[in-house]
Symmetry: C2
Subunit: 475 residues, 2 copies
């Protein structure tokens, strides 16, 4: 009997069951929902999931092997083959240069998330559209033309970014205790672009860099692509393990620590003052810089301490954006840094794509001015707090526990089984989740997964999760 999570195969169809099953997996592989290297369910599991005989599954896997989509590994099972053409230039690559191949699994998974239906995506990385404030956005777009004394913006704009946005950001940062004049701020196409510019400007292939582990897959992928050695700093319910960090710093002389200090993705943890102070002393002692990614800052309590506030932008470069509070569609972010660091980053920005759009930057400035964004963020925080309560109740009712206290947008759930394997039957049932391996610097599988408080409120998801976990535990 099928477990109920899979659309049933059609027994009266002209195509045999094995062919239908093979087609279903082939499509999933082509769409990269199953990635190269992913393990397929065991024959027995697959048979049960789809309500067919093991014989049918063996026949389907045979067909997929014949089509070159799967490979059998002795004693281990069936795995998706890497069907991309081998890099043509491997032989020419000088050994000392950076590995250029993009870790495809991270980008493919993230790509899947862009295309996902938010209501069915407990693993989503942003607020769903119905949590945003279209009236605020529309009003800003309208005012761009109507009451903007500077008129419609037609030129490239200032390479440092729209002056009015930088002035508004300078005020916002002052509220956080970070003193940065507009001249210390550079706008970017979102926070990810800011991180990319910093990596390109200040790091070289072979450099070692401390990262939060778990942390953000896109950042790991970007650093790996740049030939940077990752030094993962374990981060749990109590924040980054600073003893490990000190040991790594002493052994590897890292250039920098890239960290989300407030509402860390995926654990939701925010650094406390004592740890922030100790971290900055370690940075002094071992002479590394810190990139503080504050992408989730608007969703945090007003009093959360920032490293940049303690440090005064001496060793710390501060990165922020608006995808998590206004909309990801505008692609506006920024960084604040010491002047001597900023000039080189500005040059990188120019070479990489000239200016960023002064139109959307002005729109963000209009949202920041007059406090409308601040009020919107306040409402989001209240709504998120209520969502966290509901999600906590749903998790408790199904007997699941959290690996860190619930704060901000994300929860870090421990389900007791390998979440990378769990993701597949959940996807079959229509739920997109974010397994822990996605956030591991070493892609290590584990029993944790990231949940988005805004999109994990459907009891049907929690029932399905319980059923899938139980099914995996069943053998």
């Amino acid at each position: 009997m099928p477990t109920g999570t899979h659309p049933p195969l059609q027994r009266d169809a002209s195509q045999p069951l094995a062919g239908q099953l093979a087609d279903r997996y082939a499509q999933r592989i082509r769409e990269r929902l199953l990635l190269p290297g992913a393990r397929l369910p065991s024959v027995r599991d697959c048979a049960r999931q789809h309500g067919v005989s093991p014989h049918t599954v063996v026949a389907a896997y045979d067909q997929l092997q014949a089509a070159g989509l799967l490979e059998a590994r002795r004693q281990r099972g069936f795995f998706v083959r890497d069907t991309r053409p081998a890099p043509q230039r491997a032989a020419r690559t000088p050994a000392a240069t950076a590995p250029r191949q993009v870790p495809m699994d991270a980008t493919a998974l993230i790509r899947g998330m862009f295309e996902a239906d938010a209501a069915r995506s407990p693993g989503l990385g942003t607020l769903p559209a119905d949590w945003l404030d279209p009236a605020l956005l529309q009003s800003a777009l309208r005012r761009l033309r109507e009451d903007d004394g500077d008129g419609l913006q037609l030129g490239y704009g200032d390479p440092s970014g729209d002056a009015r946005l930088r002035a508004a950001l300078s005020h916002r940062l002052a509220d956080l205790g970070i003193h940065a004049g507009p001249a210390q701020i550079l706008t970017t196409h979102g926070a990810t672009h800011a991180l990319d510019l910093l990596i390109r400007t200040h790091l070289q292939p072979g450099d070692a860099v401390l990262v939060d582990d778990p942390g953000w897959a896109i950042l790991f992928a970007r650093l790996t692509q740049a030939g940077i050695r990752l030094l993962p700093v374990p981060r749990g319910a109590n924040g980054p393990d600073l003893d490990v960090l000190a040991t790594l710093a002493a052994a590897h002389a890292p250039r920098a620590y890239l960290t989300v200090s407030v509402l860390h993705n995926p654990t939701g943890h925010s650094l406390n003052l004592a740890d922030a102070h100790r971290l900055l002393r370690l940075a002094d002692e071992h002479d590394f810089t810190i990139v503080e990614d504050d992408s989730y800052g608007f969703l945090a309590p007003e009093h959360s301490p920032r490293l940049a506030a303690l440090d005064g932008l001496r060793r710390v470069t501060y990165v922020g954006g608006f995808s998590k509070v206004l909309t990801p569609a505008w692609r506006v972010g920024f960084l604040a840094a010491a002047p001597e660091r900023l000039a080189a980053v500005t040059d990188t920005k120019l070479l990489d794509g000239l200016t960023s759009s002064p139109v959307l930057e002005r729109a963000v400035a209009l949202c920041l001015e007059q406090g409308r964004l601040r009020r919107h963020a306040q409402r989001l925080r209240e709504r998120l707090a209520a969502a966290r309560q509901r999600v906590a109740a749903l998790a408790a009712a199904q007997g699941f526990g959290w690996a860190a206290p619930l704060e901000g947008l994300f929860g870090w759930l421990d389900v007791g089984v390998d979440t990378e394997r769990l993701a597949q039957p959940l996807l079959d049932a229509g739920w997109l989740v974010a397994p822990g391996a996605l956030f591991s610097a070493t892609r290590r599988p584990g029993s944790l997964m990231r949940l988005n408080m805004a999109t994990s409120q459907d009891p049907a998801f929690w029932r399905e999760l319980r059923a899938c976990v139980d099914a995996m535990r069943g053998h």
Copy 2:
């Protein structure tokens, strides 16, 4: 007596003349209008320009030297010192990695252009704002909200770019004889960003790449930063010298040729069919790819042949944008490529900043649809043709000749004296020009300069140019 191009120093001020003069140059150096390595006027020239005695100039230069802003080089004169801190990490740089230092002079010069007053900038790289069509842009921004069935865009958008823009671009490309479905198109933050993504995805430090010489400074700087070896292909009135290209290709096995096929910047030259055909055969023979930058394509006659049309996007990747026809403020560009090449570039785009803004991409789509952009481009072409006639008459009246036939936005003027040196007195007189060295892959000075047909129509500029050239020739 001063030549009249400099604001006079104040003889009755409390500050001595030498101090005033030193301050003036110090400010220019700080603002990077005078760049590290630039030569100051000779003492005699400077004295004449500012209407002071040579003794005053010597005193001023002494003060600047004491302040660390100038250095004297024996027999050669006074030069602006490089006051940036030396790269701290030179000793740690592995020999085989790419040089990461940005060629500052190019970015500083380009930065100057962003801040320039268009009416006083015959060297401008884009159409001035009053040549654009604000009504078209405003209408598109308005329709984003009003009659767009998809509603306000709130999410990250498709990593490949807005589907409606890609569909509209597919039609536009078909008009040029380039057959690329929407799935073969990737949107970017402008054409420069497209070039950057291609460089990052397909090139490695140490690779050799053919470039047009003269060509675009930002591209040279970007390639140099990436550790790419430039192979300059001379490009004159008859286009790229394909004999030289063949020799370079045979000797250096380049990975690619990055070229502006239509209305090349700065010469204005467009590749003819026979040369396009021969170039593609050379690419086959020597196995290099071609990146065709068609940034100026909208300003070209409809029938201009594109390499991508001949080649069918086999070896050619096509790059385009809207900064030269709609507005640089929206930062929307794109590339079209063979599917197997496109996937890797899309991954690079994701890692570099996730998606590009679906809002402004939709706005461009709205301009492209219904033919409004096509009609605007037609009007621009007619207006540019008239401007070229006027500029040609002004140049002729002052006795100047062109190094290539006048086409499109730019003219490549030969003034018979070193235009890098000429740029300084012209700037002193308030005219920003684009000296030929800026477009040279080796920063070689020469007697050519790029003029923008839209911003070179003031007879006062031509009189000043004549006067400055004559003054330089005078000794």
